[in-house]
Subunit: 580 residues, 2 copies
Amino acid sequence: MSIQRVQDGVGGEPRTGGTAPKIVVVGSVAAGTSAAAKARRNTESAQITVYERDQDISYSGCGLPYYVGGEVETLDELTPRDATWFAKRYNVQIRTGREVVDVDPAARTVDVVELATGARFTDTYDELVLATGVSPVVPPVPGTDLDGVFVLRTPSDARAVRDRIELHDVRDAVIVGAGYIGLETAEQLVGRGLGVTVVEAMSHAMPRMDPDMSARVDAELRAHGVQLLTDTRVVALEGTAGAVTGVVVQDDTGGTPRTVPASLVLVAVGVRPNLDLARAAGVEIGPTGAIAVDRRQRTSVPHVWAVGDVAESFDRATGEPAWVPLGSTANKTGRIAGDAMTGGDLEHRGILGTSIVRVFDLAVAQTGLTEARARAAGRDVVVMHNIKPDRPAYLGGREMIIKAIADRDTGLLLGAQAIGPAGVDKRIDVLATAISFGAHAEDLFHLDLAYAPTYATTKDPVHYTGMALDNAVRGTARLITPEELQHRLSTGEAIQVVDVRSAKDRAKSCVDGSVHIPLAQLRERAGELDPAVPTVTYCNKGVSGNAAQNVLQGIGFSDVRNLSGGNTNYQAAARARTDR
Amino acid sequence: MSIQRVQDGVGGEPRTGGTAPKIVVVGSVAAGTSAAAKARRNTESAQITVYERDQDISYSGCGLPYYVGGEVETLDELTPRDATWFAKRYNVQIRTGREVVDVDPAARTVDVVELATGARFTDTYDELVLATGVSPVVPPVPGTDLDGVFVLRTPSDARAVRDRIELHDVRDAVIVGAGYIGLETAEQLVGRGLGVTVVEAMSHAMPRMDPDMSARVDAELRAHGVQLLTDTRVVALEGTAGAVTGVVVQDDTGGTPRTVPASLVLVAVGVRPNLDLARAAGVEIGPTGAIAVDRRQRTSVPHVWAVGDVAESFDRATGEPAWVPLGSTANKTGRIAGDAMTGGDLEHRGILGTSIVRVFDLAVAQTGLTEARARAAGRDVVVMHNIKPDRPAYLGGREMIIKAIADRDTGLLLGAQAIGPAGVDKRIDVLATAISFGAHAEDLFHLDLAYAPTYATTKDPVHYTGMALDNAVRGTARLITPEELQHRLSTGEAIQVVDVRSAKDRAKSCVDGSVHIPLAQLRERAGELDPAVPTVTYCNKGVSGNAAQNVLQGIGFSDVRNLSGGNTNYQAAARARTDR
């Protein structure tokens, strides 16, 4: 059967009273405990049992890299709640060391193995919640069983990695995969003084982002001494006496494989849903490979729910199935299921894939569609890059870059990415909130955001982003991305590219083939340009380029575009093409 | 005549071309220059002149306290743009040292005096923009003309204050008024080692906020050594040899006036619009005392516009006239007028009064309606206080308090206030964005905000705020504010107040008359309570109190409320009543 993604609510039912349901939850990290706690909040009468095959419950998986690095001193800080706490607080029984190995949805029973003894028993349920989470993907290459090779998913994993570093003479580490966990751990290991190599099969670190943005992450890693190998795959792990000594890698040019020395290897290429129990229950798996659920987290099998990383989600904007396993979503879906199965009316509204990661001195964040995903979905988009400080320079403001994507026809805001040393988390959350409410580019300027020079500029970077994006959507100040300009120049198209900066700035770097007319001279020297030829104006970041664009448009130039993000962004994009 | 607040747009008109309008702007700080710059961006053909009676233009008034304190070293940093820059960048002529002293709207002329020479001349306009700003209010008490008595509005003011401190032996300062400028300057003067007294006529610092929140600002000031005198008025300033030596104050109990020694006095009790020119033009003044404008910033007189602090705004939610002079709004309205007078279609969407101020280690922020203003407007509201860390404790998270106000019938989010050491600016901007889009309490939980433990908790404080507020709106977890509980207890009403905390926490402070049943014992000891008597549960901050509330409701207690913000908030509210 197929999942109906919107179903009637049961909001009219009382949340308490009636017969006492027996709720069984499988998995006790974020989503499982959220479901149990919310069910209890809604009803005192339910009997709620959580089975957990491990010992640790309700831990912060996202905090593990910081335990490895020592920024978090003890694992206890990441596992503040134990089974006793849940029993007292919520009257929820969490039974650790018990693995649910089978389910009979017709009989509504689960088979449970007590791992310490091997004893097997059967339990019954009225409602079953699958919160079985994900497991790290380990590539099928030789040597992953060597000592010193780790994944980082549980507190036990984190303890093993840290012990390895502290008890052995670990000097060099290789991290396979440049996603969240890989980059967070890279930062932490550099902080511990290790030599760190990051191997990434895609062209850039943070491959979920657009290349022009993730190239900035590459640069940050390299600036902090990380050897980043992109477009590179791991062929094998090598070892001596059972312990890892190196990682054999090969780049996509097909050259000779080479060995990167390493006495510690972290495999962080991704995760896959733990579907064994789902398959035993016969629930439908969605197109993303995670468990298909409706908006109340119901699977295709009656009385079986799925929450957290093992469950599929859907894109808030398009309604299409989406799977982005993140702790924030796991908590949400757990709460939604716990509410729904006890008479509440909560429904999931989908995800924007909003995320953030600290990479050394930068916050790297995104929400909604990237340019690449929007274009892949067939969208005609307007793209702009905005480079602005988080606060005024006079109070120590530092620049961030925001890349925003809007639908060309309607101006609907589709997504944003932001990178910078400060204030990025705020701007991405404001943009995520705006997107959630269906904001258009023009709406951003009108937001009444909190201004004081200690926290923001008078016009916030979000305002500037909206203003420039809206102008581009309306066509009053059209933009051209570095990629598009580079592509059109490479085809030999006649474009007059006008650098309106000072001679001093131009001497540092410029767009090849551009002519130089400083903005202050543009009105008098515009005659040097041909108003009928496509024209691109640019400055350092885009503001003066826009002023120049306005000047030329105002005196009759028919096709003028401003270079999005200016020369700063153009040079970054150029590096993104060449830094491999 | 009366202003029509919504008028037909003229968006269909071309932004360029047509006859070249002559635009005259009076005032060159934030709004005036924004209007001029936007007009130029829309059209190259306009002739644009800005008259400014002072010498400084386009400066950051909000940065002045930080120049006084030395956090900003030079005034140049606050005045990065001069008339030459505007001429080159925008072909806008800024004529400083010229005061516009009269206007003839029928003839469309202004009379201008060149202050250095006294020469008077007449200029013509097609569109006239009043950006005359505000002036500090100086109370009518003796002695304000003494040396050492200042206001802080312009760079010249700031230079005078700083010179006074650096060139004289200033040890004690009195700041009259505990609003933004007063508090920012108090912080900066303490940083310079001065003894600082703040005198405020209202009951608390930051009187724009609700008393239970502003009491926290009072405490922060006092914790940093500021002598804060609330409910206190200045009677006179005293001096010797023409220089101020003290401030005579009197509290509202009618006691004997006393003198606070001071060799520096800053008067920061508020500002009033500079209306001379508006009156000369005959434009309508709104009910707030600022210039009435429509949503395109047009005054009641044709071809006369008003922008920035001198113009009235309106509440985004209610549409009612509102006047909250802030740099963020000034910039917006300037841009809107500049656009509208050159064929654009921008319209002001109103304000939420969103603001933020740093007071020593706290960010103090608000958006939308306070509880007091909502109630004064006759709204039936639900109020909740949420105390949560900005990040997990294991990565150094520190607690903030968010007070949120929603309409009881609909759950519509009306306003929020937030105070804390970190992450407050982000949450208030997210809430302001949500309110702008008409968010209801239930919407907040569903926001897909950016989570990583380096930046936020898995459920963000905004999520928690929404969850608890929504539960209170729905009546599934009703709240009681400290004020309401205290009031009801004081009337002798029979309420059983249940403290569900540990004995250790209870020993520190508790609600008088409460009974003590720790949450873990509540299920078994509930028989000690009467299910028919109104019951209030509480813990330290509200989470366990809510759990206890759920337990009691689940076993049939009919009227259970959770104390909003728990004992922490209750004690703060108690201090708010007594700390004067």
